[in-house]
């Protein structure tokens, strides 16, 4: 049996942990920009509750940028009410071991939940992301896209599950996982699942794992760019993708610069 997560719920994780709650009512929150939350660098278990009331629209970025030795488990619970919209970006970048769990309950009609995840593992880092979305009512939408990059001796695990209940016709749910394996010693696991109890739904899921694409390297080399530079451009390109949709340029810029994937501005 494969171990599907870096930490199990029963594991004792050293550190003090934390709790954080976001409760949003109708309208856009925050009014401008995005909520940018950093997991406290204390280790342990972190609970984050995100509750979206009717008509609430939230854009949030959660970053785990712990220092090198820290181990943590973060549990995010999302409740999406009627006609609410959540755009959530999750970035796992620091720490020795880090597990992230996102349980989304799409429980109000017309609710839309979109998630982008980035697991950027290097050295001997171990990251896992488990994301479960349960669609309980009709006319709901969820889209989960996760990018995992594993360098050196690192490990990433993705567990994704979409569960559409009988009571949720006209639901659309999508899940996509792209993995980039940059070293032969790295380990990448992906377990996407779909559980569908209603026929009147639109669903798709997919997972791909590859190393850097030789045809891309060749194209860049053909334009005079040496192999090493080409590969670094491609890796940066991969890491930038889940960040592109963050609407707050300042927050996006801050994250890009911490990840070392900043591109020169055009204008």
């Amino acid at each position: 049996m494969k171990e599907h997560q870096i930490f199990k719920s029963k594991d004792a994780i050293p550190g003090s942990g934390s709790r954080h709650a976001v409760e949003a009512v109708a309208g856009r929150s925050p009014a401008t920009g995005v909520l940018h939350y950093r997991i406290p660098n204390t280790g342990g278990v972190h609970e984050i509750d995100i509750a979206l009331g009717e008509g609430a629209r939230v854009e949030m970025v959660i970053e785990q940028a712990n220092s090198a030795e820290v181990e943590s488990l973060s549990r995010v619970k999302v409740k999406a009410g009627s006609d609410s919209t959540l755009k959530l970006t999750v970035i796992l970048d620091g720490g020795a071991k880090s597990a992230f769990e996102i349980d989304t309950s799409v429980e109000g009609r017309g609710a839309r939940v979109e998630l982008r995840g980035l697991l950027n593992a290097k050295g001997s880092q171990q990251f896992s992301l488990r994301a479960d979305a349960v669609h309980a009512v009709s006319d709901t939408y969820s889209d989960l896209q996760v990018w995992c990059a594993a360098r050196d001796d690192s490990r990433t695990v993705f567990n994704g599950r979409i569960h559409i209940l009988q009571s949720a016709p006209r639901t659309e749910a999508f899940q996509k996982n792209r993995n980039l394996m940059l070293s032969k010693r790295a380990t990448v696991d992906s377990f996407p699942k779909l559980l569908i109890e209603n026929d009147e739904v639109k669903c798709a899921h997919g997972s791909s794992t590859s190393s850097l694409e030789p045809e891309q390297t060749y194209y860049l080399q053909a334009r005079g760019i040496d192999r090493e530079t080409a590969e670094s451009m491609m890796l940066k390109g991969f890491l930038r993708q889940p960040l592109e949709w963050i609407s707050d340029a300042a927050v996006r810029g801050e994250i890009e610069s911490r990840l070392g994937v900043v591109e020169e501005e055009w204008s």
Binding site: Y218, R223, G224, G237, F238, Q241, E244, W266
Partner: protein, 247 residues
């Protein structure tokens, strides 16, 4: 007499263990445009990839010379720096890498020492106008979600920015509508001068109406079957390939 600009000598190439090119010979002199026409699957893209140093295409024997220098063993980036250029039949998409940063990296490498990086932007802007490419393309991911025609315009843009002395164009005209064909062809034609050479791979006469070739080659079974003047292209368009291949 000085060495020809570009020379392919008895080139044999295998891909995936199969010999695809079986003795290609070709000489392009300064200022000349050569066209290569031939059926699908005859090895034209294999030839262009090999000329640019694709690692999957193994040179079994023969050589490639640019300005008299043997470049057969050089890496693709070294060939680019020696001012060889390939416009890809199928340009590759690279998600997350913007067109602007790609162009800058490429120009920095190929034209370093010749122009200041601070001039890149205005140079790119000029060429964008020539090719009717909106500036919004600069912040998009390279070739990602681009239409066939947009990709070919971008290939042409790169050619103009990198100023090669020898350019190989692999079906740059396919996937273009009439307006795009005109724009791309005019930009290629105005790039032509007495120092540069071009090898234009195409199925159609239509691009050759803009870029009049000096020599036309018919390609088949991994080699040049027949060479002639511009009239050969017209004859091919009229009569197909059977008469050459049967010969």
């Amino acid at each position: 007499m000085s060495a020809p600009l570009f020379e392919i000598r008895d080139l044999h190439v295998a891909v995936e263990g199969k010999e695809v090119l079986k003795g290609v010979n070709l000489v392009v002199r300064r200022g000349e445009v050569h066209a290569i026409m031939g059926r699908n699957g005859t090895g034209k893209t294999t030839l262009s990839y090999t000329l640019m140093g694709h690692p999957k295409y193994q040179v079994l024997s023969g050589s490639i010379l640019l300005d008299g220098e043997d470049i057969t063993q050089l890496k693709p980036e070294e060939r680019a720096k020696k001012r060889l250029f390939l416009a890809f039949q199928y340009p590759v998409a690279i998600p997350g890498v913007s067109v602007a940063s790609f162009l800058r990296a490429s120009m920095k490498s190929v034209r370093a020492g010749e122009i200041e990086p601070s001039k890149f932007r205005s140079l790119i802007k000029d060429e964008l106008k020539h090719l009717s490419i909106p500036e919004t393309f600069m912040t998009r991911s390279l070739n990602e979600g681009f239409s066939g025609g947009e990709k070919k315009r971008l290939e042409t843009l790169q050619l103009r920015l990198l100023q090669p002395k020898m350019a190989v164009l692999d079906e740059t005209d396919s996937g273009l509508d009439i307006d795009a064909l005109r724009i791309v062809s005019e930009n290629l034609q105005s790039f032509r001068n007495s120092d540069r050479g071009m090898l234009v791979i195409t199925h159609y006469q239509r691009m050759l109406n803009y870029i009049k070739p000096d020599v036309v080659h018919v390609f088949g079974s991994g080699r040049v079957l027949e060479s002639g003047g511009p009239e050969l292209a017209l004859k091919l368009e009229e009569r197909g390939y059977d008469w050459v291949e049967g010969a």
